[in-house]
Subunit: 142 residues, 5 copies
């Protein structure tokens, strides 16, 4: 999915450099993000897949807490793109979902850095990255 | 809902400046809050909507832990306004609830900065932001 | 309950000053505690009420994690006094419970600062703040 | 149980000083541990008892996260000795279990500081502090 | 399993030194990892076994959060190798699983330091360390 993220970023525009860093699993994302920030990156897109079992959900929670800890310490965004296996009935649909969600989050990442007004315009339209939108209640922060 | 927060703040009084910063989702709130504190803000109002599913609740817990981490590190308040989809039967009621809760929390935010005695006066009356009050047991801290 | 804490502290003795700081809800306690420590306080008593629903329990967990983060960073005690709505059948009993637990924790707070030997004497008698003691197994730390 | 920890430490050998610090409950352990580290301690043994109810388990999780945060920040060990009420049918058995587990963890604490090779020798024999060993799969870290 | 990790690392290549540090249980891993980083290590492989009961799962979650906190603070990888008792029907199969998973993670650890392109090549093939691969959806991070 890293390729999809890079592809979508290129469609949005330029003015940035992509540094790709692959980790073995989702619990390694926080360290990887911290390493990228220490190397000077301004934003990290973290892509991960979460299994169906209870132990996988605990892993995902720990991974998310780690990503939050890095963001709280560094003050830069980590855009997490997590797909759960049970979100789709088969691998083809899962790959499609991961691709779509990755692209939508890549746009979010681009907009956070270059087009903040675009995020504000989408806020409150209830968009769910990867599936249909949910409705009109706004999700934003003043 | 950011508009409702700004509107309610204006009703309370002046002496402050509002910086609005929109993020893609609730897991991005902690980084956004840290960024705003790093820019000199004294208090952050974080507005977010939480879905119905277990994964959404885990997201909300991770987001809340991130917001706690930022507050623990910075020593400034983040007033979290979270609305859960299942709190209302339909989108109209949900929007009403989000608006009302946002306004009540905006008053809290204003009072933390400018009218601490007003918060103390409300403490212990069991107010639930967004719905009717629960009762007379006091919720405060000495 | 802040009044009960102050009243009970006065009964124990002097040599301290009470700074009262009221926050809107339990998720705001960690920031409030950090602010008080930054102002020079040596110990914080955090009073809060937790609702019956799952979302309230998640709030309480996030609040507790925030309080732990502040204590871990600052190295000073936050004595948490949390009462859960379902601990009592009605508001009168709940208010009684909150009052009693607050007073017992106020004694603990006083003893941590001025009478550590008193805490040690109570340790291991299985005291539950706010209800009857549970038994003789000791709860302490060397 | 603090007495049991001190007694067991003495049986292992000398070369250290014990500083005893008692706190009101398990959620106060992290602050107490940080205070002891700030006073120059090299290792903390944290003794606590966890009740049967869901709220007690949430308390224990928050306490454990606090202890982890202190260890992560300070880089010194906190040996947690937690006994859950439901681990034994009555108080006599519970006291026995707490005593035994405390002594086994006291040996671990001593060995971490003075006999690391002894811990390595026990690793992978599946020892459960306080009850019979579970089996031969090794639990260690390289 | 530490022996298996060392053995597998040697098979991959040289250019590093292994420092082995054994701790009593999984909740001690975060402190141990921090100690190793403070001694100059560049990466830690953390090996642990998780029991079947709810209390064991809470322990594992706390341990994982501690490991995340260390990684977030230090910006270096801790490769966690956790095996849950219920993952295998008996001790022989469990030992086999732990050995296999340890070796696969040792390869990951080596590759993070010396062959990042190898991790990228494996990303998205859905590998589950210790059991058969799950499928073709990619798990990586850009």
């Amino acid at each position: 999915m890293a390729a999809a993220a890079g592809d979508e970023l290129r469609k949005q525009g330029g003015g940035y450099e992509v540094v790709r860093y692959t980790v073995p699993g989702i619990k390694d994302l926080a360290a990887g993000a911290r390493i990228l920030f220490d190397r000077g990156c301004d934003l990290v897109i973290a892509l991960g897949m979460v299994g169906r079992q209870t132990v996988d959900k605990d892993c995902a929670l720990a991974a998310d807490i780690g990503l939050q800890a890095v963001q709280a310490a560094v003050g830069k965004h980590i855009i997490g793109v997590m797909v759960h296996e049970e979100e789709a009935p088969d691998d083809v649909k899962l790959a499609w979902l991961f691709d779509r969600r990755t692209r939508e989050h890549a746009v979010n990442a681009y907009d956070l850095l270059f087009r903040p007004e675009a995020i504000r315009a989408r806020a409150g339209t209830g968009q769910r990255e990867g599936y249909a939108d949910a409705g009109p209640v706004r999700v934003e922060r003043t």
